[in-house]
Amino acid sequence: MTADTDQPLLEVRGLAVRFGALTAVDDVSYRLAAGRTLGVVGESGSGKTVSALALLDLVPPPGRIAAGAVRWQGRDVDAPARHALRGRHVAMIFQDPLSALNPALTIGAQVAESLILHQGLAGAAAREAALGWLERVGLPEARRQAAFYPHELSGGLRQRATIAIALACGPAMLIADEPTTALDVTVQARILDLLLDLQAELGLALQFISHNLAVVSEIADDIAVMYAGTIVEIGPAQRLFAAPHHPYTRALLAALPRPGQRRPPEPIAGMVPTLAERAAGCLYADRCPLVLPACRLARPRLTDIGDGRSTACIRQGEVAA
């Protein structure tokens, strides 16, 4: 089963975000079904966070959504209405749980607040339900720890608390933006387990954003590889890893040290173009070993190549080797 054949919960088409005259995100399209995980990988400035914020109309000024259609549960949602998706339908968690938590309220009170706002609970019922959520996200001794303030918890427990707050709203989809990046590796593993458990239990659609391809590969069904504001390749995780169809995906895989390999990874020459350096043709052309003159003339569009996969490269058939 691939994202292609599932009935999508969310469908994004042609999303573009501009900061003044500069295009930060361009022509981003993807679908996500209930119970599935889309991993979005990319380096800094690739547009992976900005495109997620655009989904909820949360792009910080001076950024603005310049184009794109969003369908949620089969209905078109225009930009102003996307704000209303937030929380109730689509919740988001971030790399730094401290920035998302209120330092002056206990963890229990913050989960309860979410239940009061979004589920219409009140008083003791909200407090009891909040405890239930804190237990569900694996906060040990939930009743005792519910009385703690965010600064009194470790990074891993804080992230568990933000997950409880996000899920207490009853969303059908969770966007997790680098949720494990600031955590130690053993804690990261536990948080990934938790997200997979909760997803299985609640049928959540998960959009998991990370710069770390290895982390994404442990949690995603499908992967979108972003480069300089565009999706250059998207498809089922296993097939994408086994045979990348975009030269950037291939280079990114070679640039990561792999367990058991015991030799240094291969660098990618050059750098990501800045917003001001983004020319008309393929944005990867200057770093690409397969570049042709045609690559610089027009930007290749993300094209369906079958097998649930799409890629934005005119030489896609020659990439995997």
């Binding site: 130690d184 590796v185 053993t186 387990d193 997979l196 982390v215 590969s217 660098p267 990618i268």
Partner: protein
């Protein structure tokens, strides 16, 4: 023969709320010329404090640091032989100084060379780390993360040290830049006969570049072995947990592991600090701190576990 760098029974205590806390607890480690010794562990394990003790930025509570068999007197003498490259090239370089000035700073502090000689040295260092000498007049903040890390490496090399301590040198960099900086570090080690103490939490990078690995937990080295022995045949349960936690590229969706998260409580003062998280722990583990000792038949492979001679199931 004495090691290039020898850390002997180093202890560093800090004052904590409930009495002294041992950030570094009886650590001994020897580094031979040309090695890349990785110091691995999670936040709070004491690896950065250990680095600061080696650099003489902190005074130990007890124990000593020897360079080629002798104890260097003070920070400045140590700096001639050991230099540090920090994790964050944004936080560790003054954004308003030019790259040239930053690279020349150690030469100025140690009053080495004339102005002109320093200029020549800076240009040579810049070329050695792959920076364009024509751009050295630009301020640090005008450079990308990868370029800033190159500036930091050039500065660390200015005094021609024998040892570089690399404290998470790749963590703040993008993936495609990480591999570039790693390649540079390995090339410099060859060309300049450097020895590295590579502090990292990223076991995938450690497996790619280290010759030897020391794993720290709660202030102590709990396992020390050659890279291959450590990754192929880990003997401490914490090392096994770390290895099991590395996200594996393209291996499919993760399978559950069941090891608990670290306890919030302060490390225990008796017994093995890892016992509260360890599935193998028995009463003896909670009563008696296991010494860091050789695994049977392999003297160079040491582990601080009462069950060190049991291979993984």
């Amino acid at each position: 023969m004495s090691a290039l760098l020898a850390v002997e029974r180093l202890v560093k205590e800090f004052r904590g709320r409930g009495g002294p806390v041992r950030a570094v607890d009886d650590v001994s480690l020897a580094v031979e010329p040309g090695e890349v010794v990785a110091l691995v562990g999670e936040s709070g394990c004491g690896k950065t404090t250990l680095a600061r003790l080696i650099l003489a930025l902190e005074a130990p509570t007890s124990g000593r640091v020897l360079l080629a068999g002798t104890a260097p007197a003070g920070r400045k003498r140590t700096a001639r032989r050991i230099q540090l490259v920090f994790q964050d090239p944004f936080g560790s370089l003054n954004p308003r100084l030019s790259a040239a000035r930053i690279i020349a700073e150690p030469l100025a502090i140690h009053r080495l060379g004339t102005r002109r000689e320093r200029g020549e040295r800076v240009a040579a260092l810049a070329a050695a780390v792959g920076l364009d000498p024509a751009q050295l007049g630009r301020r640090a903040r005008a450079f990308s993360g990868g370029q800033r890390q190159r500036i930091a490496i050039a500065r660390a090399l200015a005094l021609d040290p024998e040892i570089l301590i690399l404290d998470e040198p790749l963590s703040a960099l993008d993936v495609s830049v990480q591999a570039q900086v790693l390649q540079l570090l390995l090339a410099l080690r060859e060309r300049r006969r450097l020895t590295y103490l590579f502090i990292s939490h990223d076991l995938a990078v450690v497996e790619a570049v280290a010759t030897r690995v020391a794993v720290m937990y709660a202030g102590r080295i709990v396992e020390e072995a050659s890279r291959d022995a450590l990754f192929d045949d880990p003997r401490h349960p914490y090392t096994r947990l770390l290895l099991a936690s590395i996200p594996r590229l393209g291996a499919g969706k993760r399978r559950h592991d069941t090891a608990p998260e670290p306890p919030r409580d302060a490390p225990r003062w008796t017994g093995c600090a890892f016992a509260p998280r360890c599935a193998r722990a028995v009463d003896r583990c909670r009563a008696e701190t296991p010494a860091l000792a050789s695994v049977a038949g392999t003297p160079a492979h040491r582990a601080a576990c009462h069950f060190r001679d049991e291979a993984a199931a």
